[in-house]
Subunit: 680 residues, 3 copies
Amino acid sequence: MTNTRSYFPNLLHGADYNPEQWLHRPDILEEDVRLMKLAKCNVMSVGIFSWVSLEPEENHYTFEWMQNVLDRLYENDISVFLATPSGSRPAWMSEKYPEVLRTNADRTKNLHGLRHNHCLTSPVYRKKVRQMAEQLAAGFGDHPAVIGWHISNEYGGDCHCSTCQASFRHWLKEKYETLDALNSAWWTTFWSHTYTSWNQIESPSPLGESLVHGLTLDWKRYTTDQTVDFYQWEAAPLKEKRPDLPATTNFMEEYEGLDYWKFKDVVDIVSWDAYPTWHDNEEEAVQAARTAFLHDIKRSIKGGQPFLLMESTPSNTNWQPLSTLKKPGMHHLSSLQAVAHGSDSVQYFQWRKSQGSSEKFHGAVVDHVGHENTRVFKEVAQVGKSLERLKEITGAESHPKTALVYDWENRWAINEAQGPRNIGPGYEDTVQKFYRPLWDMGIAVDVIDSEQSLEQYDLIVMPMLYMIKPGTAERIEAFVKRGGTLVTTYWSGIVDENDLVWLGGLPGPLRNVLGIWSEEIDSLHDGQTNQLTFTSGNLSSQSYQLKELCDLIHLESARSLASYDEDFYQGRPAVTVNAFGEGKAYYIAARTEEAFYTDFLKQVVEEAGIEKNIQTELPRGVTVQRRVKGERSYLFLLNFTKEEKTFSLHDKKGWDLIHQESVQGDCSLEPYGVRVVREE
Amino acid sequence: MTNTRSYFPNLLHGADYNPEQWLHRPDILEEDVRLMKLAKCNVMSVGIFSWVSLEPEENHYTFEWMQNVLDRLYENDISVFLATPSGSRPAWMSEKYPEVLRTNADRTKNLHGLRHNHCLTSPVYRKKVRQMAEQLAAGFGDHPAVIGWHISNEYGGDCHCSTCQASFRHWLKEKYETLDALNSAWWTTFWSHTYTSWNQIESPSPLGESLVHGLTLDWKRYTTDQTVDFYQWEAAPLKEKRPDLPATTNFMEEYEGLDYWKFKDVVDIVSWDAYPTWHDNEEEAVQAARTAFLHDIKRSIKGGQPFLLMESTPSNTNWQPLSTLKKPGMHHLSSLQAVAHGSDSVQYFQWRKSQGSSEKFHGAVVDHVGHENTRVFKEVAQVGKSLERLKEITGAESHPKTALVYDWENRWAINEAQGPRNIGPGYEDTVQKFYRPLWDMGIAVDVIDSEQSLEQYDLIVMPMLYMIKPGTAERIEAFVKRGGTLVTTYWSGIVDENDLVWLGGLPGPLRNVLGIWSEEIDSLHDGQTNQLTFTSGNLSSQSYQLKELCDLIHLESARSLASYDEDFYQGRPAVTVNAFGEGKAYYIAARTEEAFYTDFLKQVVEEAGIEKNIQTELPRGVTVQRRVKGERSYLFLLNFTKEEKTFSLHDKKGWDLIHQESVQGDCSLEPYGVRVVREE
Amino acid sequence: MTNTRSYFPNLLHGADYNPEQWLHRPDILEEDVRLMKLAKCNVMSVGIFSWVSLEPEENHYTFEWMQNVLDRLYENDISVFLATPSGSRPAWMSEKYPEVLRTNADRTKNLHGLRHNHCLTSPVYRKKVRQMAEQLAAGFGDHPAVIGWHISNEYGGDCHCSTCQASFRHWLKEKYETLDALNSAWWTTFWSHTYTSWNQIESPSPLGESLVHGLTLDWKRYTTDQTVDFYQWEAAPLKEKRPDLPATTNFMEEYEGLDYWKFKDVVDIVSWDAYPTWHDNEEEAVQAARTAFLHDIKRSIKGGQPFLLMESTPSNTNWQPLSTLKKPGMHHLSSLQAVAHGSDSVQYFQWRKSQGSSEKFHGAVVDHVGHENTRVFKEVAQVGKSLERLKEITGAESHPKTALVYDWENRWAINEAQGPRNIGPGYEDTVQKFYRPLWDMGIAVDVIDSEQSLEQYDLIVMPMLYMIKPGTAERIEAFVKRGGTLVTTYWSGIVDENDLVWLGGLPGPLRNVLGIWSEEIDSLHDGQTNQLTFTSGNLSSQSYQLKELCDLIHLESARSLASYDEDFYQGRPAVTVNAFGEGKAYYIAARTEEAFYTDFLKQVVEEAGIEKNIQTELPRGVTVQRRVKGERSYLFLLNFTKEEKTFSLHDKKGWDLIHQESVQGDCSLEPYGVRVVREE
């Protein structure tokens, strides 16, 4: 799995930089460079929203300002991710070629405005995007400042225009070949929905079809494919010019609209934009674990290869419900968290606050005041200093033995499915609930989709895997058979890749490995509860409250570990384990209170012999992550509380690269403190 | 009132059956018949969503599979309701004739999709629907399996296309003859809305007119009329072919969009689809009483004639917020509840769960597992067994002496009216509040609209009858004069059938019979309360909390029974009674807490001499209903609690047809238990 | 500042009168006059929604009925505000000229319906409106009953049709001259939004641009300008015919969509429609102070000149969530409150309840019952009697020394700004919070926008003045320099008139006068709090809870009065004062609990030597307002509680015009009581 490649000589530190907003203020452009060096920035992302500045009228290119910017940055040892500007095209293009504008699901046609407002298929738009990429390749491909290509920005959304409808139908024909095959896959006989010509197929719409789940699923798949294709189309001239430079596009957290795994083979590096809402009303560790989870997805997509934190805010955002400031230390901590999980960069949106328009109050390295004497600037400079000290970590990887399965197509299907809980099936939240105890224990985790190889893992946690795609059940069986430990839950093994329910007994192709038959599933109203009590094992006689979903199962080859305490299914199994080959497969039949996740996973981890990053009981809110580079191993100790925390390093010792001191025995972390320890 | 007619030799038990989904699986079609017999099913509804399977291309009919299905069912003694498939037309029709697609109130045109997406007026659609009905009549009218026609499915919605606008204007011309008459009825001088040509009239729209209440009312009336007309149009060929077979269309609970009373003379049997949310967070009796109320409406529409429970779920739905399972016994109990209130059938949606699309998780007799060894199948079979034992009840009727008035047009008007409580006037809920104590006492009730004859009743409960249509006040006066007891409330007698307020003093034409003048009505904010205290009668000195609406009335010929305790109207009458002819008319001036309904109706019932089904105090959650056939009378004892309940049968005794035992004296009901007692 | 002019010989009392609804009932029209005299009404607003009655077909005018109405009113000593009927045009016009119909922001075109549904720019509509005004001028301009022109009704909304787009572009060209200037002002380089032709500019739309704040601001400004222009266009023929008669248009409370200050020079009298929700769940004084605030705005617009209360309800509305009745006394009290704040009239919507359509349940002087024997009629007559007794007050003015700044453009900008609190920046509410203690103390206040002269004031309270327009900072500096006291808060001095952030340190042009630098602002989640404690002055060691927004400032020339108690900004200044010239400038850095406003403003008022209307501590819920006419001064004592309140008049004494008695020493007010005292 080591397809890792280290593109950069050191950890990157930088920001989105929009000099085109300040061309009338050369003094400010000058000052920018002085401040970048003060903040120890070594990279800037340039050109992301510069289309109209690069091509103010059709085929008239004005690249001089960009040339000057790249020159000046290069002279000052600052590298550049050069962006294609397709995230927001100029007004003249919408005016001249209205077909580039997006059509919404309700078939209204957009006016020019905002961002991401383009048809993914439009031949005109594709032509324009290609021309711009070619011009950028020609103009700046050989510029020594440029170290990579930042393709577009935060792809998202879909287009329902007639060109896209034709394209979708073409995609369907490629996939299904015949209408009969499509009708079968979508079970269109239901409600007399059988298509008798390809032209009858329209993308899902609130004005038309929204309940043929196969159609909805395929539309989402198509939109991902079309976006991947769009990415490749605009990246091609740049990769052709400079195959040695990495290309990436910045992802948005766990954005539902695109299956990011489908970019696995087409981006050279994964990068993403992280905007956790620190200091909200939940325990800080909730955001921390959620963000860790998102980092782990990004690292896992390319098999452990370092990724880039392409955007984050140095202070606050302006588009979230509240623009809460990061408290002192939190910026440093959250930046290092990214590195801990595999990022080779800490980058910001944005270098300097714009004077006007919609994101003028978005946090930036340089505030409107214009100088470096701000709390935020100093915190940024502190991160710059730490990243310099961590230089040797550049390119280090992670090789977890545990994987958590989180699958986009499963998510789409489960959320569209109708039943058993339309007020929110809770897939995303449930996966988080299983991630959290692993984070608490300091256990490294890959977060993968259900199509990945399981060969490198010892423990697979796979909640609510409703959709079993071809090959998945086989891989799971092989995994358990050779000694792996599987943990799964209710509402798994329900449908195939077309959202057709498995006939003959659920959980369908998982029935064998789990050794159970699920007859029916109950859905409890808010406030209604049941309870499970363990009847054997270390948790014996421990009870946990249940809510929302309770699966009524029958044992086949499995044995019961815990059973229901209430209602007409009292006494029936609620947690089971099935010995299968050399391994074990656990099934959790109901949705539990949070203590269950902690206690149960602790047992499973112990039994499965999964190694923690440090063999110690970590204080609540503290986690440990690890990166490895050749022979060297680096422990990241992260304290997501506002209190100092002390704990034993057990048998670990080493050199704290941040504090430049050796650590062993008891180790303390400041409030929001972080240590990075090169292990001896 | 005995227009009752018994169409069937026994109680029906069956389901919607969609064999067209499984034509590729003859083994499953074969298995279906075996399972139907196991479940004691004797009827299937077939063809409801089969249009594309019956006519896959225009004028090309493929009836062979249907022929086979009917033959096979008939051979196995299973009858058929044959459906017209107009609930969901094929995609080819929308493609070829886009005018069949519905136009929404905001004047957007729908795409093909979902169900019920047709223009009610479209000549093309009507032609196609007629052709299909003719083909079905010709193809299957003489098939011995067919025992009735299931016309379309759950009619609903409206269409605002230009064809419908023209049709609406035509309807208005028929009704009003002149624009002057229309302008007067709609009081269009307000806000200068006077129409000076018919073409200026458009159906209500969020983009146009929404506050001319007369227009809105007439649009709703028109939509009902057009739907009734559509029903007749598609039923005609079938009735022509087989006038002896009953035709019905399945209603949806108390669906606001159609005044089901207008179907009274055009359907042969009333049928409906019941989906109570058992086991939600309210006391079970709330759902039970609400469902009983809905059954009573359906029975009342055709004057007590048995109706059909055309759809219900054997376990759960998949389209409600939660898919809660019915606990053991509840399916049997709720099925028998339908029979208790006058149904001659228990039918399900659906026989077998579909493998895909939007209702794949909707409860069914046969689950995806495909065999009979499920809890649900067994509960269904139990119902089949009970229905066999109740065979002699087929065709039995009810003759309540009490009627509750619940009027669709009143509901439309009260909800559109603006003032005095736009956050929810609460009509529907208030009617339910009056129904519940009657159900608790085991008193048989007809639920009628305000246009029905009152001759057969001794007690009329008529809350919030805001709209008094021509003849209603006269019928009410005559009813009270000849000795009847009337109970009505605040916000009654406000407008005429055009939503024009009665001038000269409210409650308008009810002022005489009630003997009061209502000067103004107060609207209390949430959390604000008042109180009434009885000053005479059995409830003397009893107090009840008031909320939301308090009517400020003056006594004319009435006398005060209770008065307000607070605010500036302290001391003014809050409950009054007026002796009128031989009878009495009660007026409740304010919205009360729930205890009031119980205590007050108990008094009224006693004074009016209304007979309970059993002269006993029933345990909370238990009710008694009765059906009568010739000399024979059947008591249904129903326990909607999860505890065993015991109570005295008083002077009743008889033979429990379900448990096959005689009962008298103290009688106990199991949790969710039911007894059906043929009285001696 | 005395541009005051007294148009009327006495206080006006009257209502909107819609005789066109009752032309078929001459008996009712006759009865109306009798009842008007009984209610002591001396003015009626006629013709507001009469277009179709005045011009039932194009160019065919039917004015006879209006002539009769005016004659009859005049004969009975009742004057008339004659209205132009443009608030609701006839259906025939929409039918014949669809271009008069409004286009919504989402570019859907409206159908005919409701009110205010016209294009502001449509040449056809403007032509028709002008013709009607000319006809009215010719027909009734010389009628002796007419004492003023009621132009249209409650202007509001905007139109996005292509005609309006062209008009908007024209307005922008006039304002900016070049696209470069516009692009700079709107900071369009952000997200590549630079316009390269005027035709690319479209009004804000959910389907297009919504985040270019400069565009949104200018669209709102344009809409106000276009509405002012529309007003002038339709008023012109009437003013030309009768320049001596005042023209007005009735405003709606603090309607966000129109900057009412822009009507300052074009209306002769300000008038408005007041609909407070008395008796809701808040302390009565909350509505009272809010209503007082709205009155004060209306009086301030024309520099203290009396305004008109053009609409209010005699009892309740029908369009608010609840139609709560005014309790006895409240109608009299709230009517006199208007007069206390400068109104020369008390007028109602509506004279008589309409029989049908959307406002049939809106309160009126004459109810559907049709006679005078109602509680409401009597309360109205009581107001009529009081107004007669107050005749000498007609034309009296107010000259407060305190001004509260409340600025429409600031409001638009702050609400669009995105950050730091998108869940509600709370501008409007915060201004109210500062108004309330002044009302409690009985201090007269002007409520002005930020473009007004400050010369007549000693104290300026200016919360959250985010936008500093040209000249404002200079006026504020001059004001403080000459000895004035300024109170302002966090989130002030952030942007210029184009919503461009001030560079170089906030609060931008207020930094000098305030003597502070604001580095960053924190946004607290709901439930999170901080605290400030005063460290000097009379409030020393007093603490107040903080929430939502906390500004982190540095002292420059200011000194700290209070500091933060918690979080990382503990100890930093939270309230500051800067001595500047002869005056003082206070800065409140955080959002506080309500007690702070009371305590702090009390101190400020004392130190600034602001005179209360009575030098006494008023009971909670009681306020005192004053009007002055030449040598005479009138005190209005108003009790907004349901208890009798007694307090000392201090050195005041005089003659109570309402109760016709002299008052001095201790004075008591009945529940909801009012006294109007001519001071000796």
